[in-house]
Point group: C2
Chain length 269, copies 2
């Protein structure tokens, strides 16, 4: 997608148009980018407030829920959440019966720190008839600890609304580092990662597109998508296969082989 | 390298030959593969015992130390360690003054579990005049928690003696997953990763070569090396740059941005 900053109504309309197209092609679980209802490059808390919505009383989320109900599908999408005057960079999981779960971005990138609070819900997973689903947002993916948190709680599919920005040093012909992180995280955890990025340049900030659907072995099943144009990717997800795949041989399962007691998490004093 | 199973003396001789060549090209820190003195595919504990050496009384390590002293260089290499009849898949760091540090592989792969004990020294780092150095071995790299453990303790350079085996599902033209893991781990921790793999097929087990030297941004500085032939890679390491690189912007440093209290390490009961 290419959301426009502050234009919630037209962004939601465009999301539904893309959603209808995906459903027409058989999609059952649809993933949209980070802050896709609002755009990303806020310049004041007032701008955030004007776009942010309360999960339990949101016109945007009601519209999305109606879409899921009408089409018997599930979706994940990023939106700015207003929780009693505190703002979160959130992602919602909706199914045919309504809202299933909410996630608040745990690791804030750059100026987000001026407008949003870091997430306060840790790394929840949600059991659905499509499999067990976790959500994380953009910079969360730079923390393998976060992906592991979803995995050890049983996530089969990690949905990642994101707004990836360029990373210095990428040589021509190289894959974007963000997509390499998806590969590594999917592989070492044996789960699917569905990362939906935005495209376009907003108030001078470039976004890189290149959405990917990564299989539980770490190889991309679809994408990278276009770096500049809106594009829908499709892939078949088999949650049971992800779960069964982790027994790599008689001795090795990457979740069971962790030696948690040996890891150092804090810089020694 | 292509070590031969059980042929310690000729493996050590070949290592020194390669070492002399690297030194002649200006190398100061040399990294060799996992179990490079002994070969890898053991078929009994007796075979391990015949090759394993005590760190403090090892002909192999004395030979390597003499090489480092004579050439004023540092080296890391994998060897089977005999610690009072207990065997570890170990890696040693040696400098011009002698042995600096030892590491015992923490996550054992497949049949290694029959012959070796898991490491009991956690994730030590060693301060040297070349920078702060950590060592890990092969399957350890599948645990981002391990790389993070070295990083938070101040590692600038992570040396990885390894014996990578093929991973199913790799499409033609794709980089090996093991090298993708190096990229992701280097990038999210802002450190160098120097992974020295073996080549060849031993008792039916294929090894994939493709050694890489990965910079602190996550892009490869040298390699992947040949998948089938012995090959020496060279790159310039700037430990201070790795340390300074982590302040990505006013708000973000991937080591400081971790939210350790929010991560789940154990599968909920």
């Amino acid at each position: 997608m290419e959301p426009r900053i502050g234009e919630v109504e037209s962004n939601v309309t465009e999301l539904l148009r893309l959603g209808e197209e995906a459903v027409a092609h058989g999609a059952k679980l649809l993933v949209f980018p980070e802050l896709c209802s609002s755009g990303y490059v806020f310049q004041s808390k007032e701008e955030v407030a004007a776009c942010a919505e309360d999960l339990s009383d949101s016109r945007t989320i009601s519209t999305w829920a109606a879409f899921c109900r009408a089409n018997n599908v599930w979706m994940v999408a990023g939106y700015p959440e207003n929780s009693g005057g505190t703002y979160f960079n959130s992602s919602v999981l909706i199914g045919p019966e309504g809202v299933i779960g909410n996630y608040r971005k745990n690791h804030l990138w750059n100026n987000e720190n001026k407008y949003f609070e870091p997430g306060d819900c840790n790394h929840p997973v949600f059991r659905t008839e499509l499999g067990t689903i976790g959500m994380m947002v953009c910079y969360d993916g730079w923390f393998p600890e976060a992906v592991r948190s979803f995995a050890v709680q049983g996530a089969d599919v990690l949905c990642v609304p994101t707004n990836w920005v360029p990373i210095p040093g990428q040589a021509p012909g190289e894959k974007a580092m963000a997509t390499i992180l998806c590969q590594a995280s999917a592989h070492v955890n044996g789960l699917y990662i569905v990362a939906a990025d935005r495209v376009g340049t907003e108030r001078g900030q470039e976004f890189i597109g290149q959405s990917v659907i990564t299989g539980y072995t770490g190889w991309h099943l679809a994408g990278p998508a276009s770096p500049v144009h809106q594009e829908i990717l499709y892939a078949e997800i088999k949650p049971g296969e992800a779960r069964d795949s982790r027994q790599w041989n008689e001795f090795n399962d990457p979740l069971l082989n962790r030696r948690v007691e040996t890891y150092t998490t804090h810089t020694p004093a």
